[in-house]
Symmetry: C2
Subunit: 247 residues, 2 copies
């Protein structure tokens, strides 16, 4: 583990890439100034653990760059990812001292942090923050429920296709080309994908090969995915049509 320097820019809120999607999205300029005054940045390398389950967590944060994951581990080592935090997602529970899951930096990661107690105080004063946090939490709950359907009822192939479509969609909201091939880099190893999907990494690998063989995806290198026809991928997810933002 080389200790390279992580060089993420540290922007002012007004220039922040997640300004309009994160927990601060609804804040007016005066509210934003108050947040600006108490925020601070932290960076982590891919693979680093941010906090262990049960540890005290004295801050909350927004993901600015990169991907973080929440995982639960059973005694015998079985692991299940229970949260995948992409840029603008919120990390932490304002009124809980400790966390219930391991939090890991899946890629190089930059967080915009707030000490927990000052943030809690701000929530009382600035309803826009609490409102936005409620909205985001409800969205996460909806996402968790989609995820439960995936884990409980979908086949391995459907799980992979669903996962790819989720990543493609979330990616598209930031990097919106609009038409033509959809292409993106996987932010997860095969093992992390397995943890996300409730599979083994061998099954993930096999199903990826299967989708490639059938022309649903193209693999350029191990991580770069090209989707020649998004509808074709959607057909493999098991979801009913037109559930998509894309397409």
């Amino acid at each position: 583990m080389s200790s390279k320097q992580l060089a993420f820019p540290q922007s002012q809120c007004a220039d922040c890439p997640i300004r309009h999607r994160a927990v601060c999205a609804r804040c007016e300029t005066d509210e934003l100034e108050k947040l600006e005054a108490i925020k601070y940045y932290r960076s982590y390398e891919a693979g680093q653990t941010i906090i262990w389950a049960g540890d005290k967590m004295d801050f909350v944060a927004s993901v600015v760059h990169g991907v973080a994951s929440l995982t639960q581990t059973m005694e015998d080592g079985r692991r299940q990812m229970v949260g995948l935090l992409l840029p603008s997602d919120f990390l932490g529970r304002p009124n809980r001292e400790s966390v219930a899951y391991d939090v890991t930096a899946t890629t190089d990661l930059q967080l915009c942090c707030f000490r927990r107690v000052p943030f809690l105080d701000m929530m009382d004063d600035t309803p826009h923050i609490a409102q936005r946090l409620l909205e985001m939490t409800l969205d996460e709950l909806d996402a968790a429920r989609e995820w439960m359907l995936l884990l409980g009822r979908k086949t391995a192939r459907e799980k992979i296709a669903s996962f790819l479509s989720i990543i493609a969609r979330r990616d598209a909201t930031f990097n919106n080309s609009g038409h033509g091939d959809v292409a993106f880099d996987l932010p997860l190893t095969r093992e992390a994908m397995a943890d996300y999907l409730g599979l083994t990494l061998e099954t993930v690998s096999r199903q990826m090969s299967g989708l490639k063989r059938d022309g649903v995806i193209r693999l350029e290198g191990k991580r770069h995915i090209v989707i020649p026809d998004f509808d074709l991928l959607m057909d493999e997810t098991g979801d009913d049509a037109d559930g998509g933002i894309l397409s």
Copy 2:
């Protein structure tokens, strides 16, 4: 489907069985009066569908008596329960017009309802409601994440044991005997349990028989469960010890 009369009592908020656990838990007496003014009760028989996925939902509600479930259905009929609402749980998204899941009365059910828009207005005026709703939503998110571990990584036997311990625990918070055998009625059919656990009803039945054969549970009739030794059941859940409120 007989149209028997459901005779749930309609209490004043002060006497309400869920007064201190529901979304109104933090309300002061004056805030409670405002809620009291706009609340109304609805009752449903076991099996009735309350709303279909995609339908417009013009109210939000607290479960007062009984059990409701949220389920997602795939085109080919595969179903996954994604929410199990017990007394005091909250139903609906204040700032969403429609619901994403089928909502069904699993047992005879009484809801304490509020029309959505007036409730939304009240949330702005009474921070205690919004605060409590955020807290409850975060708790639900935690529960959903436990559930994801169950769906993704547990064996059929562990799923059943986990489910029984969850029901026993939630039941105990209302009907707290404190010691001796833990006993309760299952609020779900075998099929609904299967939908909850991501199994088939046959597997549910087999595993129930297995736990009975091994003395972990006793079955009195089809629905009444007696747990002679709660620790024995916990050993079967796959969770690490001391995660429990009971024990």
